[in-house]
Amino acid sequence: MKSKILLVEDEQSQRMLYKQVLSEDGYTVFDAKDGVQALNIVRLHSPDLAILDIRLSGEDGLDLMGQLLQINNNMPVILHSAYSAWKDNFRGKMADAYIIKSSDLTELRNAVNKFLPLHAN
């Protein structure tokens, strides 16, 4: 059974990109455009990993991280952001990884692979 990833990203084009790439890597990707969708997915599908954009329209990705972890404290969280400045933020450090967005998705993929090794599938 494929590992399940929650992808929270408010921008549709990016959601498409990440979902496509990660799916090609062999993961099942559940994508959410906001916190409400994300929380529903966690409750319904218990994903193995969450990738959160920090700046979601209307809400803070860091707040959402808190809520997600309340539901499933064992789920690794990768913060995915265009802002490098928050990398050192206290709550940013609660995440398991902090990846700065890039068109080169190698770093993101490596991080995902670290938590959900593909050969285990």
Binding site: S84, K101, S102, S103, D104
Partner: protein, 735 residues
């Protein structure tokens, strides 16, 4: 016609009295009578007649005996010269007549004589006597006038002379003889037109002019250049005088007055000197110039005429007077050379004071060096130091008494080789500021009282000047401090403006960067997806791949911008700058080598450890080296060195590349300024920020075609959180 003349008749015959009385009284005479020799003498004494008629044949005492008594007896001294006419009947006795005339009888009348004859004789005698009397008076008057004139001439306090038209001196008064002793040669007055010593002098010129023009000739303040009297300054006035010689011919003579104004002129000169020194002193505030002016004035030729002058100034603890400056020759030869030189220059005093006085002294003059090495210990027991302590002037001559117990000067002054000298305290508000010592070394002239007096007048001016100079010096130091602070302020201001600008740019850049980053991720990401699924996946010309690569480059630029805006404070550890340079070089050298660049490294030995952020400084070094590398088109040379000086570490990166034009130089540290095709324009801006945050500074020296040199200056004692301080340390040393 004066008062009535009195005639005394001494005769024993009454008839004679009656006759003479009747006749002589008619003629205007007053007749008195005596009948014996003795009563005649008494009458002469009491009456004091103008003339006496004395009969020879008198009872008891004949006329000759009466005359004898009158002339010889001291009792009749007052009247002994009364003219006496002898009357006698013995006309044939020529020998008696001759004898009596010889004895002083004025006339001799033989009886019987006519009364008219008597009257004539009396008249003649009285007239003669009057003439003689007037003559004597006149003679006396002439003599006394002559004496008076001669005494005026001889004792006049000016030189007076007269000479004839050939130039032969006729008269020269004592004053002039003293003034110009050469006017007398071999006990004779000379001819001024022909004498070797005078024929080319003012004297001959004046005499010649007066003789030729017939007009007077007057000159003032002329230096006397004749004879042995070289130092005199004279006022002269010659006039023509017409005199008649014994044959009645009129001849032109010359009379002249020569006045010695040397002393007056010298006093005048001294006053002018004082006034000029005072004026000159007001033109300088610099202590050194002031002192030099003073010492120049003291040694300026005819004014004070000291050969050497030195000044000593009190030290901070007021325990000794330190040698400050000396002016004067250091040896006999030196003295002669100096005097010859000054004579040739022929400067007047004013020029001398302003030309030499106000220039800076030559420090390497021997006397100056000696003075600088000397001090006068005020506690020492010597006549000099005692006087200075008591703020007295001390004049030391060969005759000065001093006990063997107390030396004249402390041994500290032996190198000055003082013999005769004068020392004056320089006092202001009762405080001893210093001392002036002056002497006549090498010309051995006696130090005169009036020179010492003048010197003390100048010294009092100097005290004011020194105080003024001290105040000025303090003001100047304060001003320098202020200027330094001001320039610090300006620097900080510039830095602040720079920082403000950076902050604004940073904020804007961060915002723009984030906004751009998101679409870039999408564009680049899908381009990669396209590329991956394209049949030309591996083709370098695959458009998707080109898009992906370009997007990646854009992202890198954004990363730099974002890095710049969020550059954190340095987290310094104890590191060694040489180790850092070695690490950077090890990393970059292969790349440089490949580009054909030769790297030269000179590291300061034993460079101590210091606090700095290794990562940040490494970035700086890489930036600088890459800058140099990228400036070359076909290789070149880069020299990297470290130096330690004054607690500041200097890291220098120097290349022989094309350099940077001055028009661009002001911008190179500005963010986003770049001359390179692929540069972000942030390398140097980031480097500068890093260096500043380490309390250091970065300097560039470059020019088109001259290569470029970057100097990074880091204070050894940098403490994080003490950045502003460290800044000022670096700047203080660099400025």
């Amino acid at each position: 016609m004066g008062k009535q003349k009195t005639v005394l008749l001494v005769d024993d015959e009454q008839i004679m009295h009656d006759l003479a009385s009747a006749y002589l009284e008619r003629e205007g005479y007053s007749l008195r009578s005596a009948y014996t020799g003795l009563s005649g003498l008494e009458a002469i004494k009491s009456v004091k007649p103008d003339i006496v008629l004395l009969d020879y044949m008198l009872p008891q005492m004949n006329g000759e005996q009466v005359f004898e008594q009158l002339r010889r007896n001291p009792e009749y001294e007052d009247v002994s010269n009364t003219p006496v006419i002898l009357l006698t009947a013995r006309g044939s006795d020529d020998s008696l007549k001759t004898r009596l005339l010889k004895q002083g009888i004025v006339a001799y009348l033989q009886k019987p004589f006519g009364l008219r004859e008597l009257s004539e004789v009396i008249n003649n005698i009285i007239t003669l006597r009057d003439i003689r009397h007037s003559h004597r008076l006149l003679e006396f008057e002439v003599k006394s006038t002559k004496q008076h004139l001669s005494s005026i001439f001889q004792n006049a306090p000016v030189g007076i002379f007269s000479c004839n038209q050939r130039g032969e001196l006729i008269e020269v008064n004592q004053h002039l003889k003293n003034l110009l002793p050469d006017l007398i040669s071999e006990n004779k007055l000379i001819n001024v037109l022909e004498s070797d010593q005078f024929m080319n002098s003012f004297f001959a010129e004046g005499v010649r002019t007066v003789l030729e023009t017939g007009e007077s000739w007057k000159k003032e303040l002329i230096p006397c250049t004749c004879g042995h009297m070289q130092d005199l300054i004279l006022n002269v006035h010659f006039v023509p005088v017409n005199v008649a010689n014994e044959f009645g011919d009129r001849m032109s003579n010359v009379v002249g007055i020569i006045e010695d104004v040397t002393e007056w002129e010298r006093k005048n000169f001294q006053l002018r000197l004082l006034s000029q020194v005072t004026t000159a002193m007001q033109q300088t505030m610099e202590l050194k110039k002031l002192l030099h002016l003073l010492l120049t004035a003291i040694t300026a030729g005819p004014a004070l005429g000291f050969t050497r002058a030195m000044i000593f100034l009190i030290n901070d603890s007021a325990t000794e007077l330190k040698g400050a400056m000396g002016v004067g020759p250091s040896s006999h030869e030196d003295a002669l050379q100096t005097w010859n030189r000054l004579n040739k220059l022929n400067l007047d005093m004013e020029e001398y004071i302003f030309k030499y006085g106000l220039s800076l002294p030559e420090n390497n003059e021997a006397l100056n060096l000696t003075v600088l090495s000397c001090s006068i210990p005020l506690y020492a027991d010597s006549a000099l130091t005692n006087a200075l302590r008591e703020k007295r002037t001390y004049l030391h001559t060969q005759n000065t008494n001093h006990t063997s117990m107390q030396p004249a000067i402390p041994p500290d002054l032996y190198p000055l080789q003082l013999d005769e000298f004068v020392a004056l305290p320089v006092v202001s508000n009762d405080n001893l500021l210093g001392a002036i010592i002056a002497d006549n070394k090498f010309n051995n002239q006696i130090i005169q009282e009036d020179r010492v007096h003048l010197l003390s007048l100048i010294a009092s001016q100097v005290a004011n000047g020194i105080e003024k100079a001290h105040s000025y010096e303090q003001l100047r130091e304060e001003k320098q401090k202020l200027e330094h602070v001001l320039s610090e302020l300006r620097r900080t201001q510039v830095r602040l403006i720079h920082t403000e600008k950076l902050a604004a740019i940073g904020e804007m850049a961060a915002h723009v960067a984030h906004e751009i980053r998101n679409p870039l991720v999408t564009i680049g990401g899908f381009a990669r997806q396209l590329q991956k699924h394209s049949e030309f996946a591996m083709n370098e010309l695959n458009p998707a791949r080109i898009i992906a690569d370009e997007v990646l480059r854009l992202e890198k630029i954004l990363e730099n911008v974002l890095n710049f805006t969020k550059l954190p404070d340095p987290s310094p550890g104890e590191n060694n700058i040489n180790s850092l340079v070695r690490e950077v070089i090890a990393q970059i050298e292969p790349e440089l080598h490949e580009s054909g660049i030769i790297l030269e490294v000179h590291l300061q030995e034993d460079c101590p450890n210091q606090h700095f952020d290794w990562g940040q400084l490494k970035q700086v070094m890489l930036n600088l080296l890459k800058n140099s590398q990228q400036s070359f088109e076909n290789g070149g040379k880069i020299a990297v060195s470290t130096q330690l000086e004054n607690q500041i570490v200097l890291i220098r990166v120097e290349d022989n590349g094309p350099g940077i034009g001055s028009d661009m130089l002001t911008d190179i540290f500005n963010p986003f300024y770049t001359t390179k095709k692929h540069g972000t324009g942030l390398g140097l801006a980031i480097s500068q920020r890093i260096i500043h945050s380490h309390g250091g500074d970065i300097r560039v020296k470059t020019g088109l075609g001259q290569g470029t040199r970057f100097d990074v200056l880091l204070p050894l004692n940098f403490e994080p959180g003490n950045v502003e301080n460290s800044h000022s340390i670096v700047n203080a040393v660099i400025v």
